[in-house]
Symmetry: C2
Subunit: 191 residues, 2 copies
DNA sequence: GTCTATACACGGATAGAC
DNA sequence: GTCTATCCGTGTATAGAC
């Protein structure tokens, strides 16, 4: 792997573990096994390197999510698959955690990939909900955008609950709670 | 206000704005209008001062939440009141945001107030859901703990969505989505 | 109790040798 | 392209005067 690749990958790891403010160039260089010179040759500085790392992480997450949401099954099943997808819960969301980083939020360029990724997944879920309504799987009174936001929020908030308690259980509980509310009514099933 | 009070209050503000890693003693001192000596006289160091600040913030949030959840109205109405309660959405949750701080999570003492606060509110909502089930307001298949986790996660995740997009709208959308799923079925109302 | 002085490692970046 | 040297401000803490 090239030096600049190693720098980006190390930065991605550290941003996930410690956030932007908590990540120093020095720590990145040590993890990448590179010297100062390499970093400032390939990148303009910490924000520039972070931008490359964030873009890649955001892109990757988005692709994974969209793949699950466009997979097989009914709208409900796809949303369920998205919610139940395997996650490193205690590590948190590599994209969502950046929203708590003041320096990321303050920088338009750094925030953009975060915003776009979340918006894209949100939009995809909203579409699925609308499709589910047409199929009669979801109640017609539901709003796709709103349910999409609730689904995404449950995931992002689930990470918070899990990290607060030190256990992934809270994440799973929230997801199950949401799914129990969202579950399509099938004939003869009363909830 | 005493110097030690000003130190705690300044720390609370900064922890909310910039998190633990992003907050330096120097910044705290400047905001509090105090010198180095004062801080190290009243507190053992940054973690000790942060602990005092976090405890107070957690306590305050918990009291506010429990007040709303124990207020007037049916279980659904109280949960609704909690979800719709006025919030400084773009600033994020002063307690929840700490879960994304690696140094807070790594320190048992610092994490404890965060964990306890979230657990307490979670428990309170779970009770309300169970009560709502007894009253026939919620479907008997729902699980109090799970719905409680979903409610809390929607709030915590709502902050993430709002900060990502730079607008409180996403928070509100998620809340409305959850409420539309949770709304008790009243006679003649089909959703 | 509060202040100033001092300490030293780290954060973030530049310069220039190889 | 990569390395080392160097820079200056900041982060965190201690010492000691008032």
């Amino acid at each position: 792997m090239s030096t600049s690749e190693r720098l980006i990958e190390s930065t991605r790891e550290l941003l996930w573990e410690r956030g932007y403010v908590g990540t120093s160039p020095k720590a990145i260089l040590e993890r990448a096994g590179a010297g100062q010179g390499s970093m400032y040759h390939h990148f303009k500085g910490k924000p520039d390197l972070a931008l490359a790392a964030i873009r890649r992480t955001a892109q990757e997450l988005r692709a994974t999510a969209e793949q699950v949401l466009s997979g097989p099954g009914t709208p409900y099943e796809r949303i369920e698959a998205y919610l139940l997808r395997e996650r490193d819960v205690l590590r948190g969301c590599p994209v969502g955690r950046l929203t708590m980083d003041p320096d990321v939020i303050a920088n338009k360029d750094l925030r953009a990939p975060v915003d776009e990724t979340i918006a894209a997944i949100h939009g995809r879920i909203a579409e699925l909900v609308e499709e589910g309504k047409r199929l009669g799987q979801f109640a017609p009174g539901l709003d796709g955008e709103e349910i999409g936001a609730a689904v995404l929020a449950t995931v992002q908030g689930g990470y918070v609950l899990a990290r607060a308690s030190g256990s992934p259980a809270a994440f799973d509980a929230g997801v199950r709670g949401l799914l129990s509310l969202l579950a399509p009514r099938t004939p003869g099933q009363e909830r």
